[in-house]
Subunit: 366 residues, 4 copies
């Protein structure tokens, strides 16, 4: 139901109608718009997103990226060979949700995506493959399967493929938010990556990836995480331990059969970037999550395993690489067939920092 329904002055006379028409014309001339004639849902009872729930199959996405690799060069100007997931409800924009951008990026053998920087916060998640190093503010970061990689706002970054095979991965950014809110700055950098070394671990990892330890050279808190790469081995081990602890009868999982971690900024314990939350979820075979609605939008990618997602009542089977978007206040739940691993990112930090966050869980609000 809509709040801003047209107000009905009871049976207006012809003279009244003429006066109203003149009034509305004068409004328009003066760049005004009355609240009471707005037929769209300006203030709905619950969020009514234009964005719709949608699933993209990896088996469709990846071949299209390959064909792009053959037909479209990468270089200065277009900057990136990235193909954005365009939410069917947000016609005409490559926005997966009103806040988030999700794309598959594809880099052919020996190719380089030139360096630049922008206000928009970005990350990469690698569902398969290896061979590319992303260079973030001069620090070369290996990209391998299962890794979650950060390029927070205003950090220079470029990618280069040092192998003879192509590589694809997922990019996530806050481009739609930045564009609609008019907050974006952009600067071109080097056409080649500024450090062509290919170390196994980036300098950020070597300085920061020691659990519970903080370098005395890094005591000032940072807006975004100083860790450039969250490695799959670490994520996998954390999830494995949670499930083992659960088997031992210890509190560790977020719900029975459901292990989950959030990627965090070690200087604060909070989200990795000011606008984007990222998590990894693992469900035991047979686990079904509670149905949940949240303010704000999320994107999931299946990393491994098979299962089913239910989005506002509609079920879709999922397999490795498949992506889906959950718009604001859309009811969602997951069911695992085998073991089921999913990467998730969302705009939750925006909602929490601005106090708009709400969650409704089957059987009660949280």
């Amino acid at each position: 139901m809509s709040v801003a329904v047209t107000m009905a002055p009871a049976a207006p006379t012809a003279e009244e109608e003429a006066q109203l028409a003149r009034l509305y014309a004068d409004f328009e001339r003066h760049h005004l718009m009355p609240l009471w004639t707005q037929t769209n849902d300006l203030m709905p009872l619950t969020p009514k997103p234009k964005a719709v729930p949608h699933v993209w199959a990896w088996k469709d996405l990846y071949p299209l990226a390959q064909r792009s690799g053959e037909l479209v060069p990468v270089g200065r100007g277009g900057e990136r060979r990235a193909i954005g997931l365009a939410n069917p409800g947000l016609g005409g924009h490559a926005y997966v949700s009103p806040t988030l951008w999700a794309a598959i990026q594809y880099l052919g053998p020996r190719e380089t995506a030139p360096e630049h920087r922008h206000s928009q916060n970005a990350f990469r998640f690698v569902v398969e493959g290896e061979g590319v190093w992303t260079v973030v503010n001069g620090d070369p970061v290996r990209m391998s399967r299962g890794d979650f990689l950060l390029t927070p706002g205003w950090n220079f970054h470029g990618h280069h493929n040092v192998t003879d095979h192509p590589m694809a991965w997922i990019d996530g950014l806050d481009i739609p938010f930045a564009q609609q809110m008019d907050v974006g700055f952009f600067e071109f950098g080097s056409e080649r990556v500024t450090d062509a070394a290919t170390p196994a671990f980036s300098r950020g990892e070597r300085l920061w990836c020691h659990p519970g330890l903080r370098p005395l050279s890094g005591l000032r808190d940072t807006v975004s995480s100083p860790i450039g790469a969250y490695r799959w081995e670490v994520t996998d081990r954390a999830l494995t331990e949670q499930l083992l602890l659960e088997e031992e009868g210890q509190p560790a999982t977020v719900a029975p059969g459901h292990a989950a971690v959030r990627y965090v900024n070690p200087t604060t314990g909070g989200d990795v970037m000011p606008t984007i939350r990222a998590e990894f979820h693992r469900l035991r075979p047979g686990t079904v999550t509670q149905t949940r609605r949240e303010v704000g939008s999320s994107v999931f990618q299946v990393f491994e395993g098979r299962g089913v997602v239910t989005l506002d009542g509609g079920e879709t089977s999922l397999e490795t690489g498949d992506l889906f978007v959950v718009p604001s206040w859309c009811a969602w739940s997951l069911a695992a067939e085998g073991s089921f691993d999913l990467f998730r990112f969302s705009d939750a930090p925006i909602m929490e920092r601005l106090s708009f966050a709400r969650t409704q869980v089957e059987g009660g609000d949280r």
Copy 2:
């Protein structure tokens, strides 16, 4: 200059062109969109708002509100007789900027705007008149000239005019932000105000408006200010003292000849609401402010006096009641002819909490 210019594969053959066409058709079919063909400014070098700077004259606005008062009833459904300032660059929406809503609201003699509540944060600012009480969560709040009045998100509120003369004021909300981000909830309340008393001071003021004192019954910090009304007498006194202190050679003003206060939440010292900042500025006659660009948008209303605003180089003369919007990264400055009092509100808390805030001041960044 745009970053995402079309990439030009040098002299494609007819076969290549056909392949590209097939690729793009396949993209569309699968709800994908390549980054490299987006001709719009997806990632501009600096913010390129669709919103434009614009001035609305009070002498146009107020008569239109009066005519609405005669022709359009107020009541359940349309809820409010509010006329939104529609930024000419945001065609089709009553958005003064991508985040903010500004409207003139008009309540005839003895009329009531029924109670409701919504996630959207709202305030009122009274440029002239009196006679209406706004009832916020059951607390009746007098509305008088120069007062700044809060109805933070999810507080029930309704207004009623207890006099025989009409009253108009300015509403400010984060409706555009809430609508685009899909965060809004709405709930209808009582058709009449739940407390028809007309006290000079609201209970919130009586509990909270004692400088430097906090009630022991209110030690928990609140997301939004517990003060329902910031009275003109207090604002005026604060600005007067700043200018007197300046005359005595003491640091007090924000710049020479420029007194200014921010309305704050006394439980935190921070902004009154999570998405909206509100301030009051007073310029001595002849004062000219530095030219400034800021990320995020602002709306000003002249409260008293005369002056000139320069917006991206274009000058407009202003008098009491005139409103203007400053879109993101628009260069602005003010020049006072006589003493010049202005109310300002903006989305700065959004920009600061999400780390997108930037300011460029003539002669150097801040």
Copy 3:
């Protein structure tokens, strides 16, 4: 009961006793001390303060201060004519508790207490009289009955009496904490006050004492409050309003018949200084507070009215000016005969910031 009782090796032989004696002698020689022979309460079951509850009568204190005024000069070296309340349990120190210093300070006609600054945080509370200005970092602050006045750590301050009659007030500081923790620095300043003006309101008040307003020239949060004087008129009005609201059936008081405010730093909403909390309490005639134990120590001074304090079961009648100390975990309650106004200060910020705070209220913990 004590934890660290001597451990008793069952029936030691003479040889064993000799060995133990040699061991203990070796401990001493090497500056070591075994935990198991410590007969004092190193780790008691609940706090066992050396400080004891105690009441000082104003009718004793004030004449002694007067006699000091006749016999002892004030000036550089001794710096202040202050007489400290010495807790009978803390023999040999002018400590009212392990953290707090409380003293009566007396300034004769036309006398000056020279300027200096120190790390220790200080305040004054005026139970009667007027005529002295305290000059804090060059800002002259009038001292009048009922005022609470701040001189936070490392601010220069001196006092001068501009009248022909003497004046006395209460000083509160964190001297015992600073001395035991070895945190204190001290610096001499001007022998005369640096600004001899006697304005009704200090510059800090003129800039900061406008409820809900923050100067744009003061947007950086400060460790201690920028308000130099919390005036009695304001405190009285806040308490009066709480009791009126209570009569109207509104939530406002901290408990039935018990109005109370905390003095706060307007830049944060938190305590006025990092180590000292200050509050003002007003009880309606006949009100009896719940019995309460708290970690940390407090000092109260009766500002007006009559009542009874119960400290660990012992009752004492109180009248205007009387002071009493509540050591850590001492059970206390107040009973008002007529209307009963009390100023309170405590070390609660220390306890809260270091997570040692605990409160036990008759009928349940809080």
Copy 4:
């Protein structure tokens, strides 16, 4: 120089002296003490600790602990076979500084130190040995060489030695602070450890020791770190990487040749406990640190290597296991002969949270 020197009324007459004597007697009778006769340094120009810098040699300490193991049983009552380092300046107390307790604790083969809990925050650091598990709130934590182990305030903990050889380690607590401030509570627990398992890794580690990852079951920030054991392997690797990065010309060390990490609470990035900071420092051979004074006290233990400490100008050679205390504002520096590894703990969180922290570094304040 002392501030509170006795004030000298110039040439008092006999009558005046008699009056003064009566005044002072009356002060004493009423539990008052004048500021102006206090000859001790109540407010010194810089901190003047009673605690003195002091070094304890491991070659003295360890044999004394062994002899205690033979002569003194451990069990309920004395609770722990711990021998406290008694600062020579704090006569009569086993306080290494006014805030900190440091002790060597010794547990014989198959012995158990029974479970208890207290408000005091505690940790263990293991300079050599293994074979003991400390059980913290039911979670068994292995203790091995180089490990830093937490038992934050009000967590039950007991230790048991599962081997046939004894083990010793260092305990650090805030006992002196807790005792002087009267904040301590204590509760006896099980006489035997509540979980006799001897896992290689505790449950806290398995849940929390994954760099940059936070369990979704642990999103609420905790006052103290949820990590029970910070393992030597991790600390060593972090320090090694810092020195390697330095060799590669990258910013990583806190000063040339000086690697250092702080142990932190992963939920906040801040100190592990509210009152105690812990760090590990590694100096390259030949490195000499800047001379530094700090408000607050520190204790160091040499973990490995040889070097020299200079404390207020006095030099002492150090080897593995040696401990020294740096009182507040004592000038200290370290010089490494070979590679030089030191564990450090301090009361810095107290000083920072209460805004008393100051540091003076050779060549300028910080």
